[in-house]
Subunit: 154 residues, 2 copies
């Protein structure tokens, strides 16, 4: 194969483009993995400070408003059968109660108790406070990040 100088320049440029793209993808992958790991650890650590497992913390955070057990299962993306035990353990601790839904006697609403609501607020605040996003970035940077995350979460 023979190359004109123009061909070669264009070829090299394209290769550099691919390499840059691959490097960007690699860097971003590593960074996302690192942030994902750190976010998970943070979540677990904070939940543990409140004597909650990850699943329990997710449930409590999801119950800002009372919701049918089925809805909670959908939100947690787990089988409905899991929610029975999850609710049992939270109920024993006095964080939630099962209530009846008006109009459909099959449905049981899960609602936070006063203690549950109090814990939920504290949990949310602690999650936020411990987040690397809040501890490492200033207000302006957080605003930029917030806009990007908002776009990434819609």
């Amino acid at each position: 194969m023979r190359w004109s100088s123009v061909d070669r320049a264009e070829y090299c440029s394209r290769v550099r483009g691919r390499q840059a793209k691959a490097a960007e993808a690699r860097d971003t992958a590593a960074l996302l993995m690192a942030v994902t790991e750190r976010t998970r650890q943070n979540f677990e650590d904070v939940a543990a400070r409140f004597d909650l497992t990850t699943a329990q913390a997710r449930a409590v955070l999801a119950l800002a408003d009372a919701a049918p057990m089925r809805s909670l299962a959908d939100h947690l993306r787990c089988d409905a059968s899991n929610v029975t035990g999850l609710a049992d353990r939270l109920e024993v601790r006095g964080l939630v109660v099962r209530a009846e839904q008006h109009g459909d006697r099959r449905v049981k609403l899960l609602a936070l108790t006063d203690a549950g609501r109090k814990l939920r607020s504290a949990l949310e605040a602690a999650m936020l406070e411990a987040s690397p996003v809040m501890t490492s970035l200033d207000a302006d940077e957080r605003k930029v990040l917030r806009d990007l995350l908002l776009k990434a979460s819609t």
Copy 2:
């Protein structure tokens, strides 16, 4: 209590500042929770596509280089006893092998097999590809996000 117009203006300004800050914190909290949830779901879904549990996927991703079982436990922030079973299950599937470390016969190195390395690459790529960050943001936005995340992860 009596107010001069200057006092009142300053007071109101301070209150507005506090309210804005509280609103920012609330918004950021909600957003972070949403992104955290979505990231977790994404991780679980992608891992499941490779027939891996979350813990197994984290282990495979962490084993880019061979490492002592103890190091893996440290990385996963779990008790060392867990790694035995975790390694067992990955070993049965032919994804990792236990190797001896030169110089200390107590240590067992966990190393990905060829199949393990292949799976790891595919897993990482799938995690990245399925990430809302990659699907919703363009290259410029990703660059800004990357810089912010880099700062937030150091």
